[in-house]
């Protein structure tokens, strides 16, 4: 399989995505999309954060939800790994703990799609690793 062909396919996909995303005037404002950060340090990885992240990507794709899914370091909640931070457009970030694939599905269905809060939120004004 040649890389060139792959990159051509990617180009096609980009054009489709661009049309779709810019229709909603989102292309220049990633902050207007749902942002998900998965804590991916030793503690998170050992607890299955990679499976959670893969699951979220697959699920968001199949439900056609525009989002950006990125990684972050240890947020200091090693006891509650895997942890994820979800920022809905215009909202404050919310951190969820013990996010296995089942919990991830609940978060997508309830919080991301409908804005309903679900169990497992880690309260208080935490600092993300980037802020430390």
């Amino acid at each position: 399989m040649s890389k060139v062909k792959n990159l051509q396919d990617l180009k096609k996909m980009r054009d489709e995505l661009k049309g779709k995303i810019s229709l909603r005037e989102k292309s220049d404002h990633p902050e207007s999309m749902v942002q998900i950060k998965v804590s991916m340090a030793t503690c998170g990885i050992a607890s299955g954060a990679r499976d959670t992240m893969n699951y979220m990507i697959d699920e968001l794709d199949s439900q056609a939800i525009d989002a950006v899914v990125t990684q972050t370091g240890c947020m200091g909640y090693c006891y509650a790994e895997p942890t994820i931070e979800v920022t809905l457009p215009g909202e404050k970030p919310v951190v969820f703990g013990h996010v296995n694939t089942k919990k991830a599905s609940e978060i997508i269905e309830k919080y991301i799609k409908n804005g309903e809060l679900v169990d497992g939120i880690i309260p208080d004004s935490y600092e993300t690793i980037d802020g430390k």
Partner: protein
């Protein structure tokens, strides 16, 4: 760590935290061995830290007192008769090279390498990850910069891009492994 791919994810996270903007992940397959090198241009470490870096009670983080990434890697590599070498210089970067004897009975499985590599790229939009897979004369190389160039403004962290990159790497790994030595 249950498998080799998780080590890659874990060690690369150190590079991210070191403030790198370019991280190279190279996997070289030979007859029985797998050599993985993770090389960054982050803040690096001085000799004093370097000496203690595989000590589980040494860590740069402030949220807790243990740092297990490198000690785990060392343990898993050495139990196959392999090695871990770390080179680092302050201000220049760090390079970690681990060699595993994949034919050894105590070698952990390779794990889900393709999603690991894809997640590294799409999970860190600000960092240029260079992924290189080598086996004999076969070389596959892809970088976040190349992907971003094609994407032309579409975020690399979009789920659709994530799945695309993962599938591309799955194909390439299959291709590289299918060639007999």
């Amino acid at each position: 760590m249950k498998d080799l791919s998780m080590h890659i994810l874990d060690i690369a996270e150190n590079s991210v935290k070191a403030g790198s903007d370019r991280v190279e992940v190279e996997l070289v397959y030979t007859d029985r061995m797998l050599e993985m090198t993770i090389c960054d241009n982050g803040c690096g470490m001085d000799e004093h830290i370097l000496e203690r870096v595989t000590d589980p009670y040494a860590t740069s983080r402030t949220s807790r007192k243990v740092g297990l990434g490198l000690p785990f890697l060392k343990m898993n590599a050495e139990q196959t008769g392999g090695t871990v070498e770390i080179w680092s210089a302050p201000g220049e970067g760090t390079s970690v090279k681990a060699v595993f004897d994949t034919g050894h009975i105590d070698c952990v499985p390779e794990g889900d390498l393709s999603s690991t590599l894809a997640l590294l790229m799409t999970g860190h939009p600000a960092i240029n990850f260079v992924i290189r897979l080598k086996r004999e004369k076969d070389v596959f190389e892809i970088s976040s910069d190349e992907i971003n160039e094609v994407l032309d403004g579409v975020p690399i962290s979009h789920p659709k891009v994530g799945i695309f990159v993962r599938n591309m790497i799955i194909e390439e790994i299959k291709h590289i492994k299918s060639n007999e030595l």
